[in-house]
């Protein structure tokens, strides 16, 4: 699943469009299939409620990564790894404030 979405992203142009596939729900699909078969639909639905907070955090993470790469000319590896704590902080913060 992950490789399929990655391959689609690799062959598409322009890169802003191909980038959509960098945020494809590939990991979510694979995990949800496994969760539904092992824990049931209600458990999976509870997970997707939190996934909304994770996706909002992803939006902020990717926007900041884009700004660092285009305006500050940082390397992709450095920018994307150093922003990981931001994703964690936003997703856990949203979960704590809105979903707990």
């Amino acid at each position: 699943m992950v490789c399929a979405f990655a391959a689609i992203g690799d062959v598409l142009k322009p890169k802003s469009f191909a980038g959509l596939f960098g945020a494809a729900p590939s990991v979510a699909l694979a995990t949800l299939y496994l969760t539904i078969s092992s824990q049931g639909k209600i458990y999976a639905a509870t997970e997707t409620r939190s996934m909304i907070a994770g996706a909002v955090a992803f939006f902020i993470y990717a926007s900041c990564a884009s700004w660092l790469l285009m305006k500050r000319n940082l390397s992709a590896l450095f920018a994307t790894i150093t922003l990981m704590p931001l994703w964690l902080a936003v997703s856990f913060g949203l979960w704590f404030m809105l979903l707990r």
Binding site: T35, F58, T80
Partner: protein
């Protein structure tokens, strides 16, 4: 620039580029499962939207673009980073589609065919992401062609 498909990019791609993303994706699947097992589905669910393959994709894209420019005798570092930045803009728009995916699965999954719901939610992710991408492109084009006043402000 219109959307196009370049299949030769697949022939140029190295096996490790896919292996790397496969490993990151698989690792996050396992991690989400382990965290859900230990701390409950509410915490585990956050990791369904973890940017697992994005850092690898952006880094590989940067290196690829840099390599292309270097083969042409240019430096290419700035170009590589700009292209990775453009890719990140796309990922930000895709993440908005991911919110729709998660909302749809949450609302529709209980009591319905799971395969059908996951397929429909994936389709909804694509349609929403594509629509946002298209609207952004129209907005960028409009900004570029917006007539400027003699004083440089566009308030009227």
């Amino acid at each position: 620039m219109n959307i196009s498909v370049n299949f030769s990019a697949l022939r140029e791609a190295k096996w490790y580029q896919f292996a790397l993303r496969f490993c990151f994706g698989g690792a996050i699947c396992v991690l989400a499962g382990v965290i859900a097992e230990k701390y409950g589905p509410a915490i585990g669910g956050l990791f369904l939207a973890f940017p697992a393959i994005f850092p690898a994709s952006a880094t590989l894209l940067e290196n690829e673009q840099e390599g292309k420019k270097q083969r042409a005798g240019l430096h290419g570092m700035i170009r590589g980073r700009k292209v990775a930045g453009v890719d990140a803009v796309g990922a930000a728009m895709g993440s908005l589609g991911m919110i729709v995916f998660a909302t749809m699965v949450r609302q529709l999954l209980p009591g319905r065919s799971s395969s059908l719901i996951l397929l429909s939610a994936t389709l909804a992710w694509f349609v929403v992401s594509l629509t946002i991408w298209h609207l952004r492109r129209l907005f960028v084009q409009w900004c570029r062609h917006k007539p400027m006043s003699p004083h440089g402000d566009n308030t009227h």
